[in-house]
């Protein structure tokens, strides 16, 4: 599709109009900050059109023109608003240069179907801007905590030093605290131990049950499904108190009747409680994958003499693996981020990371939890990248070429 559209230069009047609007908007923002909104609006529009005229009609060499714009705006920013202004100027200058040639050369049409009307093209890009705004909403809170984790003070506040990029405002002490503090280390280890085991249990039981549920003649299918999903729909605080009594008696039985070590019993209780919470996610994702599963494949395997277990591991499993993995990841994160149930079911030696974060937040607001969050975000990116690689691999396995 993309190659079909031939792009051509657009009339200067169109470019100047668009640039005037852009410039007016930017000028308005700056003007409002300086309390001279109307002046900013006019100056912005004039400056923007003037610069466009210079680079498009006078210079007519894209590379030089774009470097020139970058230099112009960053110097402007630097002189008007200092270092931060300079940085903003570089970004703005780059965008300005890119945008003016993007419009002028008609590049915005390059990836679109040739028959789209101008209105449709405008909508296409406005829609992307809207989506961009929503993605910003999704990501900003995470971006915001990252610099705060390097705060040299013990509060969740951007200090004046931080805003002026003064090195004194930054420190690694919250990372050091996380690495040196026993409580954090212990809870991190606990989380890393409890979450995978709980995930394995939910994935094993959940996948089996999902396969059972996907067969065509299951009596009371709806009721069973509702029961299996119930841990997700019962509000957590109810689950937590209800489960507390159950697991206390399980604990009593294991400790007193079977004489198992108290600490170990504690872990068993937490692992079981967390695997219950993870199960609905496994059921939902695996059932969804199985909806598209071609049952004749298992029949074919059986026809060729494979026993049910071989069929399961060699035929069915590889195909539903993406569903199983994504269910497993959901289950993992449920356990890894769970703070209500653990506080009831667990005891001190099973304290997990979210529990430690929760007390950190209640008893002493300290950016250590932001440092941990930053580490975990990096960790999540690695996990997600793994998931993405696995997905691509499974596409290859199924012979689906990436589009």
């Amino acid at each position: 599709m993309a190659a079909l559209t031939v792009i051509s230069r657009k009339p200067l009047s169109f470019v100047f109009c668009s640039m005037a609007i852009l410039g007016a908007f930017a000028g308005l923002l700056i003007g409002m900050a300086l309390n001279v909104a109307p002046l900013g609006l006019i100056c912005g529009a004039v400056l923007s059109v003037g610069l466009s005229f210079v680079v498009l009609s006078v210079m007519d060499n894209e590379k030089i023109a774009r470097w020139g714009l970058l230099a112009f705006w960053s110097v402007c920013g630097l002189f008007s608003f200092g270092l931060a202004g300079g940085l903003a100027g570089i970004l703005w200058g780059w965008f300005f240069g890119w945008f003016v040639f993007w419009l002028f050369e008609g590049r915005y049409r390059a990836r679109l179907q040739p028959y789209l009307s101008p209105k449709q093209v405008l909508w296409h890009f406005s829609f992307r801007v809207i989506c961009g705004a929503i993605f910003t909403y999704l990501i900003t809170p995470i971006i915001v905590v990252m610099p705060l984790s390097f705060n040299s003070q013990d509060f969740f506040t951007f200090t004046p030093e931080m805003l002026q990029f003064d090195p004194a405002g930054y420190s690694l002490k919250h990372y050091k605290d996380f690495l040196n503090n026993n409580e954090w280390q212990r809870s991190f280890k606990n989380s890393l131990m409890i979450a995978p085991i709980a995930t394995i249990i939910s994935v094993c039981l959940g996948t089996l049950a999902a396969i059972g549920l996907s067969q065509s003649h299951v009596p009371f299918k709806r009721l069973i499904m509702a029961l299996l999903i119930s841990p997700m729909i019962v509000p957590l605080i109810i689950s937590a108190t209800g489960m507390f009594f159950f697991y206390a008696s399980v604990g009593n039985f294991l400790e007193n009747s079977l004489g198992i070590d108290k600490n170990f019993v504690g872990y068993v209780k937490v692992v079981l409680a967390h695997s219950v919470l993870g199960i609905p996610f496994v059921i939902i994702t695996v059932t969804a994958t199985l909806v598209g599963f071609d049952n004749s494949l298992t029949r074919a395997a059986a026809n060729m003499g494979a026993d049910p277990i071989t069929t399961f591991f060699k035929v069915q499993m590889p195909l539903i693996l993406p569903g199983v993995i994504s269910g497993g990841l959901f289950a993992f994160i449920t356990s890894f981020d769970e703070v209500v149930v653990i506080m009831f079911v667990g005891s001190a030696s099973q304290k997990t990371l979210p529990w430690q974060m929760f007390t950190g937040l209640r008893e002493q607001i300290s950016p250590t939890i932001l440092a941990v969050a930053t580490i975990l975000v990096v960790f999540s990116i690695v996990l997600l990248a793994t998931l993405e690689l696995l997905r691509r691999r499974s596409e290859k396995l199924r012979g689906l070429s990436p589009i």
Binding site: F244, A248, D261, R362
Partner: protein, 363 residues
């Protein structure tokens, strides 16, 4: 399968470690700086002396509920619990905390004064061994309150002189007392007034005058954060939090000691422990509440020791080198402006007043 292997391995591992750790006890406390002070003053010396490993469980804020549930399930996993006086009395009433005999179970003062006399009035419940005196009081931003700094708790209600937001705990306890106090009710009459529906309405009416200027908070760490952000100009929290904010974090904040509500925090031992665990817990209590240990805690946090004999031993802060005496709620100049909480009243009226208070808040 692999799962079973992992399980067996983990099981074997923890059984082994379980054998290695000879003795372990779980002490429940609040976490944060407070737990740190206890760790330095009590837990570490006790571990060094006896070899017992101490596990910290930061569950004090929900201790009563969890202890009740544990008791019902017959599976008490805590050995010693740090709670405030009010909850301790409730635990005692419900039979969830063990009765302590101060003469046999607590250490006498160095000069031979019995523990009962040394603690004196602080022994508010027969199950409760007081540890520290803390107070809930106000801090204000010195740079945001204008030229005349607030000196009285009633300045919180004075939005004309001190415009801006203030933070208060979203519970009726303390808040309603302050409201009545600043509405002209004498200190000694407050609980009599608060017992009547008219008195309750009077307190809420007073609070109505500042309702729009209040940020309601639920934990002790909220107000320090709000003060540091400049989000509020004054706010209520525990005096130790304010001390840390002022002296350790060097924030432009000062304290109004006026109308500080004093409360106690201390230990209880849950009922239903096995004899060995109970003996261990009693041994710890005996050690941790002696005169020197209580004075030691004050080196780490600005809460006053509950024993009379500990007061002269309070020295300087262990890290900052500040003389701690004047920062204690029990320091004479702070004490005379204090207000004493009536535990019995709140035991009876908490649920009722809380329903009213929350209904008022939600409107």
């Amino acid at each position: 399968m692999n799962v079973t292997k992992t399980f067996v391995a983990t099981a074997a591992l923890s059984l082994v470690t379980g054998l290695v750790i000879a003795e372990e006890m779980t002490i429940v406390s609040w976490g944060g700086a407070y737990s740190k002070s206890q760790l330095n003053a009590y837990h570490n010396p006790y571990s060094a002396k006896t070899g017992v490993t101490i596990l910290n469980d930061d569950s004090s804020s929900t201790a009563v509920a969890k202890l009740r549930a544990m008791n019902e399930a017959n599976n008490v996993t805590w050995d010693v619990v740090d709670v405030e006086a009010g909850p301790a009395m409730q635990l005692c009433d419900e039979g969830l905390a063990m009765v302590i005999d101060p003469d046999t179970m607590l250490a006498p003062a160095p000069d031979g004064t019995s523990a009962a006399d040394d603690f004196g009035d602080m022994l508010v419940s027969e199950c409760f061994i007081p540890q520290i005196v803390y107070s809930t009081t106000f801090g204000y931003r010195t740079d945001l309150v204008g030229s005349t700094a607030p000196t009285s708790v009633c300045d919180v209600f004075n939005t004309a002189a001190y415009p801006g937001k203030r933070s208060l705990f979203s519970v009726p306890i303390n808040t309603m007392e302050w409201a009545l106090l600043c509405d002209g009710v004498a200190k000694t009459d407050i609980y009599d007034v608060l017992e009547t529906p008219e008195g309750q309405d009077q307190a809420l009416a007073k609070l109505d005058t500042i309702k729009d200027d209040v940020i309601w908070v639920s934990s002790g760490s909220d107000t320090p954060q709000l003060l540091a952000d400049g989000e509020v100009i004054m706010g209520a929290t525990y005096n130790g939090r304010l001390f840390a904010l002022i002296e350790e974090q060097k924030q432009p904040v000062a304290m109004i000691w006026d109308g500080q509500v004093m409360d106690l925090d201390g230990w209880i031992i849950p009922t239903g422990l096995s004899p060995e665990r109970q003996a261990r817990a009693l041994d710890f209590i005996m050690f941790a509440t002696d005169t020197q240990r209580l004075a030691d805690q004050a080196k780490w946090i600005s809460y006053g020791p509950a024993r009379a004999s500990s007061a002269p031993l309070v020295g300087k802060h262990a890290e900052l080198g500040i003389e701690m005496g004047p920062h204690m709620p029990t320091a004479p100049e702070n004490l005379e402006r204090a207000f004493l909480m009536n535990y019995g009243f709140w035991a009876d009226y908490r649920d009722d007043l809380d329903a009213k208070f929350q209904a008022w808040l939600a409107k």
